[in-house]
Each structure stands twice: as C-alpha cells, then as structure tokens.
C-alpha cells in the first residue's frame, strides 16, 4: 500500500462551490415542465430532480430539487446554469468535467455529485428525445 494523502484534500470545498451552495440560483419546483427526471436514492444519501422547460429544442427554463450535500446542491445549480438557454443538442454535449471546472474543482470524494446531476440531465434529455421521437431531427454528431 502506498501512502494515501490526507482525506482532507478529498473534502475541501472551493470558495466557488460554497458560494453556489449558499446562493443557488436555480433551485425550486417548476410548474408544467416539459420533462422531469430523477436520479439517486435517499438511502444512499443523495437524490436529484431536474425540471426542464424546452421550447423549439431549446432549454428555456430549468430548475432542480436536491436531497444531498453541499456539493450536490452546487453541482446541480451549476448543471442547470450550464444548460439553460442552450439547445438540447448542445446540452447533450455537456461533460462532467465542465460542471466540476465551473465550480473551481470538486473534491475527489464528491465527484459522484457531478455525476449524479449529469446523469439526471442525460435522463431528462433522453426522455425528451423519446417523447419527441420522430417529430424532431436527431441530434447532430
């Protein structure tokens, strides 16, 4: 076994992340969303629900609810921020790393939070595609 460095390194939140946690901009329920998706499980300590309002293949509004730690709330808020106003195709190209980077990095042990909001987004977009299947053009390469 090789020395593992301080667990603290794995826990430390960036100022950016904490700021997002304290003042999330996109949290809350949405009435009449185009699509809703949920991922996670409270038994595992985190759950994430994403609401998207999509018009003309563009995400005109997005909101989320979170049961989870500070990183969960902050990554959720940042995910919404990064896709709001984008086209569905653009949103589909979002990378986990972009979410983490936009928060000034994520402690390793909290990476799963970015994964959770990312997966929820993917699920929501897939659902949207499915519901529109045939009626819209497929996403560009």
């Amino acid at each position: 076994m090789t020395v593992e460095y301080t667990e603290r390194g794995m826990l430390k939140y960036s100022e950016k992340l904490l700021e997002r946690f304290r003042n999330p901009k996109h949290i809350g329920e949405m009435e009449n969303p185009t699509v809703v998706a949920e991922e996670g499980d409270p038994q595992c300590g985190d759950m994430f629900r994403l609401y998207l309002k999509i018009e003309d293949d563009r995400i005109v509004d997005a909101k989320f609810l979170s049961f989870g730690c500070a990183a969960n709330i902050a990554t959720g808020d940042m995910t919404v921020e990064l896709v709001k106003g984008k086209t569905v195709a653009e949103a589909e190209r979002l990378q986990i790393k972009e979410i983490a980077d936009a928060l000034g990095g994520l402690p390793l042990i909290k990476m799963h939070c970015a994964v959770l909001s990312y997966k929820t987004l993917k699920k929501a977009l897939a659902e949207y595609r499915k519901s529109r299947a045939g009626s819209v053009s497929p996403p560009q390469g």
């Binding site: 667990e7 794995m10 826990l11 904490l18 946690f21 304290r22 999330p24 949290i27 809350g28 949920e38 499980d41 409270p42 038994q43 595992c44 300590g45 985190d46 759950m47 994430f48 629900r49 609810l65 979170s66 049961f67 989870g68 730690c69 500070a70 969960n72 709330i73 042990i109 799963h112």
Partner: protein, 389 residues
Amino acid sequence: MRVYLDNGTTTPVAPEVVEAMLPYFTEKFGHPVFPYSLGQEAADAVERAQEIIARSINARPEEVVFTSGATQANDMAIRGVAYANRNRGRHLITTKVENPSVLRVCERLEKEGFRVDYLPVDAEGFVDTAELEKRLSDETILVSVANVNDEIGTIEPVEEIGEILRERQRKIYFHVNAAAGYGRVEVDVKKIGADLVSLSAHKIHGPKGVGALYVAEGTPIEPVYFGYISLFNLRPGTENIPGIVGFGRAVELMMENFERDVAHMTRLRDRLISGFEEIPHTLINGPRGKKRSPANVSCSFKGLEGESMMLHLDLNGISVATGSACSTTKLEPSHVLTAIGLKAAVAHGTIRFTLSRYNTEEEIDYTLSVVPRVVEQLRRISPVKPEQL
C-alpha cells in the same frame, strides 16, 4: 450570534487552561528526563497532572500514562492487551457502536488472526449485555465498550458489564473508552471494574494532542509503539508537557464544576429536545433522561441531508456535527445510526448538537429559532418528502 454546539467533536480550551500551560512553553520548558532543575520542574508537572487525573477516576497516579489523545490510548490499550494475552486466547468483544478509533484497531486485530465479536444494541443504543454473556468464551481476553456513545449519547451499562466480567473465573480484561463520557458522567474505574480507560483532553476544554490511558496495576500489556523512552515505557517520545499541564488543569476545572456543569447541560439539552420535537417528521435518537449524556442531542430531520444542514447552520453561526460525528469522508451513513435501526435515508438527515459548560440559554433560544427555519428551507428544496420516510 456564534453558537458552538459541537463539543462532542472538540471543545474550546478553557482560559484557565491556557494560562496554566503558558509558563511551560517559554520558562519551564525543560525536558522531564533530566534531573537538573528545569527537567525536574517538567517531570513534577507531569506527576501533578497524573495525580489530578488519577483522582478524577479513582486510580493511582502511576496508573496514568499520557498519550497524544484517546485514539492513541485506544490503540495502545486494545492491541497492547491483545498481544500480551494472545497465549490465553484470541477473542475480543466490542460493540457495533464504538468510535472508529476502537473499531479500526479491532479490524486490524482481525487481520492479524484475532476474532472479534461486535455486540448489537437496542433502538436506544444500549449494548445487549445478555448477548455479551453468550459470546464470552474461554478464548475471550478483552472486552471494550465506551461508557457513553459519542453520537447519540447513550450511557452504556459499563458497571453491569464490569460485574459480568468480574464474575467469570477467568480474567477478562475490560477496556472503557471514556473519551465521550469523561466530564459528562462519573468515571470511577473501581466501580466500573475497568482495567483500562481512555481519556482525551480536547473533549473537556483541554488542548488537542494529549490524552491518557489508565492501566490498572498488573495488567499485562505490551508496548505497540517503539522508540526513545522518556517517562513512559508504553508511550515513547518526548511528552507534550504544556499539553499535559493543560490537561491536568482542565480536569481540575471539570471536577470542581462537575455537578453544576452537568445540571446546566442537562437543562439546555432538554430544552433543545423539547424544541426539536415540535418540528414535524423529526426523531430524537438515543434515550431520554438519566440514561442520556447531559451534553448530547441527536436529531434526525427527515427529508433533508445532514451536511447541507450543517453548512446552513454554519452560515447562521451555529456549529454542529452530522451523521457519523467523527468521519465525513466515508459515504455510508453513520454505523451507530444504522445499528439502532435507522433507515439510511433518515440517518443521512441526522444532526448532533453537543453542549458544554460555556453554552448559554440565549444560545439555545437562538438555535431553537434558527433550526426550524433551516429545516423548512431544506425540505422545500428536497425531492424527498419526509412523510415518505
């Protein structure tokens, strides 16, 4: 307002303690190993601290060894006694609700070929003593149980356990981790029938980096640390003299104020509990009344997650602990909350409020005004409905 309610994790050092320590940094800075005057001064200070601590637990001064904390005391005690008694048997018994400082040592011993039983607890966290009796065997050499559970405040029946062990013909050593209980409940090694007791200074307004292990005279124990011996064979290395002096002073203050502090903390504790009970979908973990540590309130607010709650309370100036009070890097819910049967989803919403003599009624008023608001706020943004849990 700043309200510190995480005294189970660590406490502010008492001003009197800092004052007692100060001369030992710059004036009485000698090394206790040498018989010249500066050295003797340091050695005398260690002896005085041994006397104070011994008196506080009804032991003799020579039975007190200073360590760098309860973690080290637990490691020294459990491995030390296990190794020294390996020829008499390789079975240990502890509980499912011990502090990680005990559990990690037991797991280590399991890797080394010892067998360890982890006793279950009931819904309030009380160790199952009937189960203890069942598990005792001719191979059992050591039992380790904390006198107070650090997460949910359960005062464990250590005297009863001591009694059970004493009744056996075969000597079974009894270790009590009193890090969470010291200063909150009486610790009398004779009444308990403990052979080893771990203490920590920073839980009773002493400094971090110093603790003690009580080792009853005649207890077979092997050193598990090696190196330069200063005062204690079991614990090599230059002693933290100012820390030891501070520990001694902290114990003096603790003993002088014990009854008053306990009454004070009990009053504040019960006010917090009553207040939190009014918040819907909220559980109080652990027992009520006399069997609960006067300093502990553990509360599960359904439908929210503890870390967020902790950080929101921090934004409001209130420091508390969450989930497993001692470890936030593991993603599993606290092993203690699991052991008392809490669903994981509920365990994740658990906050621990722990008191000290320095908390005031005003601080409790403030806390009781903030907590319900934060709970509501977090429930509003949560996709998990408390009534579903």
